[in-house]
């Protein structure tokens, strides 16, 4: 059924001086024997009556006459029009299905302003809100996310440009990664249908892309949040307790992680748990951090509830036997003048715990490792440039066990030093002699959550890990990490 819409050329706002509206039709009275009266409520009485009056210019009056006689069939048909509801959203007007009481015969037209303009008045019967079918927008960010009717195509107009997507599983997802920070005028409709009211959404600086400025210097970054706007793919591949797997995309609001049909990860997990089988490398260079062993996968949903940190953002939970291994990364520390390892992490374990490690050989020898040693209160960076070198070590500022921290380690092999920055406070030690690492691949890939030997497992949580083959600026990296604190 085609829907008749109030002409765009005509203003829909009524003059404030119009007479009062009524929230319902009058309820029928039943006279009682005692002389009193009983009112009866009927479902059909939920019809609002809304007087509408406005002065039209000659050109508007001509458009009105065409609308009334043509599409409206002399006022006999229903149409969609934004009407005053007193609602907080937008300008107070919301789209409703309406009808003119009495049709064209109920319309009054009076010349005003010495006959230059015409005041048109009529009374509208306003039908209940549920008779207007519109998709609703839940969030606008690097993904535009909302709910609607399954199988329908939703068109979302952002600043005058239409993007479209299908509704599946009750929700739609439309890419908005190219949207600039700031305010955007957004409205939505079903394809071919009327638009809902225009609303303003503001994309804040914190919406995503926190690492964009550092992207060129990153080897890769792993997080259940989307931190590089150039990455349009899923951020994690999750495995449910019944071992069904699915890719999840990041939103910047709850439910945080949604599948390609828009279902939230906690809803997908039902009453059970879900684990991270893969944390995609957001540089798009196939450096995904994976764990093929079910028992060794960090948890992301517990008993149907997303694992989150104090800021409500998702975290991966490590409980002393979990780790991820970065794929296609045996050359990460090859011929490096410097390496930077960083993480947003919390440690609760009793002993040493590794956070991010890159090794030389398969056994016990690390090139660089960001860890807690000897316990959860002491973040530490250790490493060596050559296989024969002693292990250099520098401890960072002490932290409380279980506190979320930003830990940044820089091995400056060629610069002769190593630094650790804990929540921005830098400690430094020397490497002597200064020399780049050898031109050889490692035997084992970098690991998140344990050592090359499979010891000193992390107990706690991690929401972001960063690998770089450069000596990254500590202040810039710390500022980026600060925006993804879970």
């Amino acid at each position: 059924m085609s829907v008749i819409e109030w002409p765009a050329a005509l203003p829909y706002q009524r003059e404030a001086s119009g007479s009062e509206s009524r929230p319902s039709r009058a309820q029928p009275e039943t006279e009682m024997e005692g002389g009193n009266v009983r009112l009866r409520q009927r479902p059909g009485d939920r019809l609002r009556t809304e007087p509408w009056s406005r002065r039209f210019t000659p050109s508007e009056y001509a458009a009105w006459g065409e609308f009334l006689a043509g599409p409206l069939g002399y006022g006999s048909r229903r149409f969609l029009m934004p009407v005053w509801t007193g609602a907080e959203d937008g300008d107070g007007y919301q789209l409703r299905l309406v009808q003119i009481v009495g049709g064209a015969g109920g319309v009054s037209e009076v010349p005003t302003g010495r006959g230059m303009n015409t005041r048109v008045s009529f009374t509208l019967l306003v039908f209940p809100a549920e008779m207007v079918s519109l998709p609703s927008i839940l969030s606008v960010g690097y993904l535009i996310y909302g709910s609607g009717l399954n199988g329908q195509t939703v068109e979302v107009e952002v600043d005058g440009v239409i993007r479209s997507g299908m509704v599946s599983g009750g929700v739609f997802l439309i890419d908005g990664a190219d949207l600039a920070l700031g305010a955007h005028a957004v409205r939505a409709r079903y394809a071919g249908g009327p638009f809902g009211p225009m609303q303003t959404y503001t994309i804040a600086a914190a919406a995503g892309g926190h690492f964009d400025a550092l992207a060129a210097s990153l080897y890769d970054v792993h997080s259940p949040l989307r931190v590089l706007t150039a990455w349009h793919g899923a951020v994690i591949r999750a495995r449910r307790f019944d071992s069904v797997e699915k890719d999840f995309f990041a939103l910047d609001v709850s439910p945080w992680l949604v599948d390609s049909a828009g279902m939230g990860i906690a809803e997908w997990a039902g009453i059970g748990a879900a684990y991270v089988a893969k944390c995609y490398g957001q540089k798009g260079a196939s450096h995904d951090a994976v764990q093929a062993t079910g028992a060794a996968q960090p948890r992301i949903v517990n008993a149907g509830v997303l694992d989150v940190g104090p800021n409500g953002r998702p975290q991966m939970v490590f409980s002393g036997a979990q780790y991820l291994e970065v794929q296609n990364a045996l050359g990460y520390s090859r011929n490096a003048g410097a390496l930077t390892l960083a993480a947003v992490v919390r440690g609760t374990g009793a002993g040493a715990q590794n956070i991010v490690t890159t090794s030389i050989a398969g056994g016990t020898s690390v090139r660089a490792t960001l860890a807690y040693f000897p316990n959860s209160t002491t973040p530490v960076l250790q490493g060596r440039s050559t296989d024969a070198s002693v292990l250099y070590s520098v401890s960072g500022a002490l932290v409380a066990t279980g506190a979320w921290i930003r830990s940044i380690g820089r091995m400056r092999y060629a610069g002769g030093g190593l630094d650790i920055a804990v929540n921005g406070a830098v400690s430094t030690a020397a490497i002597s002699p200064a020399q780049a690492t050898p031109d050889t691949d490692s035997q084992m890939p970098p690991r998140i959550g344990t050592t090359p030997a499979g010891t000193s497992y992390l107990t706690g949580g991690l929401s972001c890990s960063v690998l770089s083959r450069a000596s990254l600026d500590v202040a810039a990296l710390d500022a980026a990490l600060a925006q993804v604190m879970p």
Binding site: R239, S243, A292, A295
Partner: protein, 90 residues
């Protein structure tokens, strides 16, 4: 947590992969049930077998989980790894 020691890492991984299939699960990004720890020197490997299916991060019943091991394997389970399996590392 228990440990099942086998001759090689490859054998341990094959056993872990078979246990995954025995659960009735598809082999996707996840295809191994239990972690494998390699001996630092002699080439042997140990399967790390959690006590409960919840600790193994799967949704089986305890009985179905216990049935993944043969009687011989269950008899060979060690409660802890001997010290020579976990040397001090960096």
């Amino acid at each position: 947590m228990s440990y099942l020691i086998v001759d090689t890492v490859a054998e341990a991984q094959a056993r872990s992969a078979q246990a995954w299939l025995d659960c009735g699960y598809e082999a996707e990004a996840t295809y191994l049930l239990w972690s494998v720890v390699a001996h630092p020197v002699d080439g042997r490997a140990a399967l790390v077998v959690p006590t409960t299916p919840a600790d193994a991060h799967i949704g089986l019943s305890q009985a179905a989980y216990d049935a993944l091991l043969t009687n011989e394997e269950r008899a060979a389970l060690l409660p802890d790894l001997p010290a020579d399996w976990t040397p001090e590392s960096d």
